[in-house]
Structures are given as C-alpha cells and as structure tokens.
Symmetry: C2
C-alpha cells in the first residue's frame, strides 16, 4: 500500500538522494568503481568479506592480514622500459655531461646511444656496471633526493605524464579496500628498494618500511662535523625477483601473505608462497592485454614477460585479470 | 587563606584521593614507575615531551618517530650466556641424543662438555658449525616452533625463571611510553632475527616485522601436496651487530632512528647513526653494575662487553643508565 508523502517530506528525501549521489562511489557502496563487474572484481570483494567476517571459515586475525603487490607492471606502467631503467639512462646522460670519458666507454656508450641490445649482449655485467655508476657512490639520503627530483621532471615517452601519474587506479582502489579491511599492504618489487621507497608513501600510501625490493650493499660511515651516513656501494646483496621474492618476504615481513598480486613470471614464486598456505588465500595476475589504453604483452616480451605464469594459473587457482575487460579505467584522473 | 570544606565535601575528596592512589602509577601520572628519579629518567621523559609537542623546536612528525632497542642485555638478561646460545646447547644435546656420532665430533663434543673456550679457540668456525647444526635444515615455521617450545620449558640457571620473564620492567615501561607517544618501537638485535621473532610480540609487544636481526640464508621450496616453505640453510647473509646494525636499520626501516638504546660495544654504530642525525636525538646505554639484583660487567666481559661505548659516551652525549641507581626494580612481578 503506497504511503502518501507530504510535499515537505518529498523535498527532504530528494535532497538526501542528491547528497548520496554526490558522495564518491567508494563511500556509497562500491569500493572498486574502476573495476567492471566480473569474476576478478567479485573474487576480490568476496575474499575481503570472507577473511574479515569473524567466525567465518576463512577468517584471518588482523596480524595475518598481509597483502603483497609487485610494482612494475602491477602498480604502474613498465613499458617500454622499466621506469628505474629510464632513470638510470637519464642519470647516465647527466654524469656523461660532467665526465665525457664515461660516454666513450662501454657499456655506457651503447646505453647512451639507446642500444640496449648491445648492453644486454654482455649478460648481466653490462647492466650491473650501469647500476653501479648510476645508483652507488652516494648516501641513501642523497640517492633518495636524486630519485625524487628525477620523478618530479621526467615524463613517460608515450603518455607524456610524470611516471607517478601512470599508476593504476584499479590497484589504488584494491589497496585502499584492503587497508580499510585491516590488511597491511606491502610492495614486493624486483626493482631497487630505495628507488621505490622514494615515492611509495606519496604515490601509493605505502610507508617506506613496507617496501621490500632488491637491496644494494651499504656501509655505515662516520663523517666530519659529527655527522654520519649509510653509503651506497656498487654491489647487490639481495635480488628480490623470482625465488628471491618469498625470501625477501620472509626477511622483511616474517609471515606468509594472504593475498599476492603480480603480473610477470618474476612473481610466480611469490604467488606460490602465498597461495599454498593453509586457509583462504588469493593470488592474482594482471594480464596486459590492452594495447589501446596501455600495452598488450605477455609471452614474447623482454620487459615483464608473462609465460609460465599464464600456464600455471589455472591449476594454481590464480585469477588472471584482464586489463581490457576487467578495468573500467586505467589511470587516476588528471 | 584556608578554605572551609563542608564534611560531605571532605568525604568526597577523600574518596577521590583514594581512587587516585589505587590507580596504577602509570595511569596516575608516572609512566616510568620502575625508574628512580634521576638524570636518565628525566632525560627520557623530556625527550618524549619535546619531540611530540607540536611546534616545539624538537618536534618530530609521527613518521619520524622511530625508536630502536638492542635485545640481549638491553631488554633481557644476557648472562652468563646469550640466551640463544643456551638454546643452541640444549638443542645440540637433543640432536646428540638422536645421533651419538654428533657428540663424538668437534666442536660439538667441546660444546656439550660446556668447554666454550675450546669451541671459541677455533675462531668463528666452531660457532658457525654449531649454529648450522642447531639453526638450519628446517623451515622457518618449524624453527619458530622449536624456539617457542624451548622458551616454554627452559629456565635460567641462576634465577630459575623462564627467560621471557627475565626481561627488564623499566624497559617495558620505556617502550610503552614511546608507543603511546606515537613512536614505532623496533628491536635491532645481533641475535638471530627468527629467534627473537618467536617471542617478540608476546614478550615485548613488538610485532615480528619490527624485529631486525642477524639473518640466515633461506630458500623457497615447493613441497608435495601443494605446500611450500622457506627452508633454512646453514649460511648467514647478514650479521646485525656493530656496523651491521645501521645497515640493518637502513634495510628494514629505511629511516634514521630518533632514539637508540643499547648496552654493549656492538651497539656503538647504532647509537652513532641515531644521535648524529639532525634535530633532537637520544642515545642511551644500559650499564650492568648491579651484581646483587642482576649482574655487574663491562670492559672485561666476553658476553656483552662494554668498553669503547663507555669511553665514547660523554663526548657523544649518550646517557649511561646505571641499573643499580636508576632502576627501582629489575624484572616484572611474578
């Protein structure tokens, strides 16, 4: 039986409805507005609901709510070059400007000419030399300053935006949803730990102590005038990629994660470590299949190759997220 | 001019005073009741007040409120033997019971006979072999279980208490005070990271991800039946002692601490790194000078030697805390 609403009541209701409509979608009920409805979105929402409902079979006490995310290709664009490699090349150009001898020597000459095939032809040695020259020989604080300044001016060649604006809006939403549900959100990156720490808090709301990455050797140095620093040496002590990811997780977090999100074969062991634990677990792989809005690559790519991961996903129960079909939008506005 | 209080008012006041007196000292105003009044206690209270008062010259934004504590001899008793070494000897006895051949071989034979001088005569090699046999060859989870079970039954030879009850009440109070003031409290120990993680949360209220320690090599292993583990190998990848402490802090925390508390020469570089930063800093050294209630040792001790630290403290501005004079009580009740 319809209820007659007096005119004044109707105006009040209309105002309330308008206020609700104006509220951000997240607050109004959908915490993942950049995701299209589908198995991936429903799987994430379902996982959060089941792990946080006290007494439910998949319930996780707060201390066990650990979620790990790869960075390159999972949280931000990694094509046509890993951003940290673009940084290294720009820094090499700067250094060569101050020291012309550098530009004449290999592998720097090839790198400065953009001939990455020649750099990589020498195996990891060439890359290691470039990392040593561009990433070491300074304090941790000085390095963080160099990265921050570079990120403030560098722009992506295709999108003509700062790299820190080429982050994925759907992933920001997933991280926010997890944090609100009491999860600790960690970044577990094959990239340099200090490189990612330089922007993780401002860009992703992930505090620097929750960034696990590849680690360069450092040395404690006492300086004149009562100062001291951690000095970066040209050597790597931990490669946080492939099987190094669960090892890095054990070292820094000390707990098996409940959720892992990656996008390349370098994330396989992190996904395996996460999803082979007891209880409810969620493993996700972002598949870059959207050449129009971002990039399309998998098995044949040098950067972010995804081959074994796609083969293992069905049996492992990992969700393959299609950028093209599952994401309504890619980047944050502006 | 005295104010005349009516009888009913006087009863109310008396009841209020009784209620205040019955409240725990911490709630009633003194957050450090196990500390005697003196320069050390006042220095800690003053540091917390000045770093947390917005607009004050020493104010620290919450993200920079990092406090680091050594463990052995700073948070719990380290005499007559580091607790982890007592654990290793007990475990060696267990293993020798299952494998008599082990008991016949050096350095295990000397260790089982309690002849530590003979073990140490061979340099670090003997110790490394004992650590390899007692601390490796199992998963991280299995190791944590072994440590937890041992801590549940082992008792200190002099005090006849579980080791986790031989923690220092005054230090529990300092850690609680700092946490309430928005500091993140970390343990930075020369001991094994996983050993200390096995009890840090229950014993000190320090979550396992805030334990930085010496780290053994681990390997990710896929197991049958869809399981996986991090397997402990007999090799050390990071020694978190001396200059290794600031390196470990950089790796795990990524920020220079504002407060450091140690007790031995192995803490010097951590104290230097902390107190040579800009802004307000506090470095403290616990001096074990109380043979009656605990132990008295410094320059001549093999365990927890404190020699250079005492020499450097005056110029560095580090507070030397006297266990005998500054601490009203040593251990928690019970």
């Amino acid at each position: 039986m319809p209820h007659r609403i007096p005119a004044i009541g109707r105006r009040t209701l209309a105002a309330a409805a308008l206020a609700l409509a104006a509220a951000p979608a997240a607050a109004a009920g959908d915490p993942l507005p950049a995701w299209r409805d589908g198995a991936a979105k429903r799987g994430i929402l379902d996982f959060v609901a089941r792990t946080t409902r006290r007494g439910a079979p998949g319930y996780l006490p707060p201390a066990e709510r650990i979620a790990v995310f790869d960075n390159d290709g999972t949280l931000w664009v990694e094509q046509p070059l890993y951003t940290q490699f673009a940084f290294a090349l720009d820094r090499l150009r700067d250094l060569a400007g101050q020291d012309p001898g550098l530009a004449a020597r290999e592998p720097f000459k090839a790198a400065l000419a953009g001939d990455l095939a020649a750099v990589l032809a020498g195996g990891e040695k060439g890359l290691a030399e470039i990392v040593a020259v561009t990433h070491a020989g300074m304090s941790q604080e000085a390095f963080a300053g160099i990265v921050t300044r570079w990120l403030g001016t560098a722009r992506h060649p295709r999108f003509d935006r700062p790299y820190t604006r080429l982050i994925y809006q759907p992933m920001l939403e997933v991280m926010r949803l997890l944090r609100r549900a009491g999860f600790e959100v960690w970044i577990v990156t094959g990239g340099g730990q200090e490189f990612v720490r330089a922007f993780s808090a401002a860009t992703y709301d992930v505090p620097i102590r929750q960034v696990v990455g590849s680690v360069g050797k450092t040395e404690f140095r006492l300086l004149p005038e009562g100062r001291s620093e951690l000095f970066r040496l040209p050597a790597i002590v931990a490669v946080d990629d492939g099987p190094g990811k669960p090892v890095g997780i054990g070292h820094a977090i000390g707990r098996r994660p409940a959720l892992a999100f990656g996008n390349s074969d370098g994330d396989i062991e992190m996904l395996q470590y996460t999803t082979t634990g007891p209880g409810r677990r969620l493993g996700l792989i972002l598949h870059h299949d959207d050449a129009v809005r971002e990039y399309a690559y998998d098995r044949g790519s040098h950067v972010g190759r995804l081959d074994r991961g796609l083969a293992l996903a069905p049996d492992a129960g990992w969700t393959v997220v299609s950028m093209q079909r599952d994401w309504r939008r890619i980047f944050p506005p502006g």
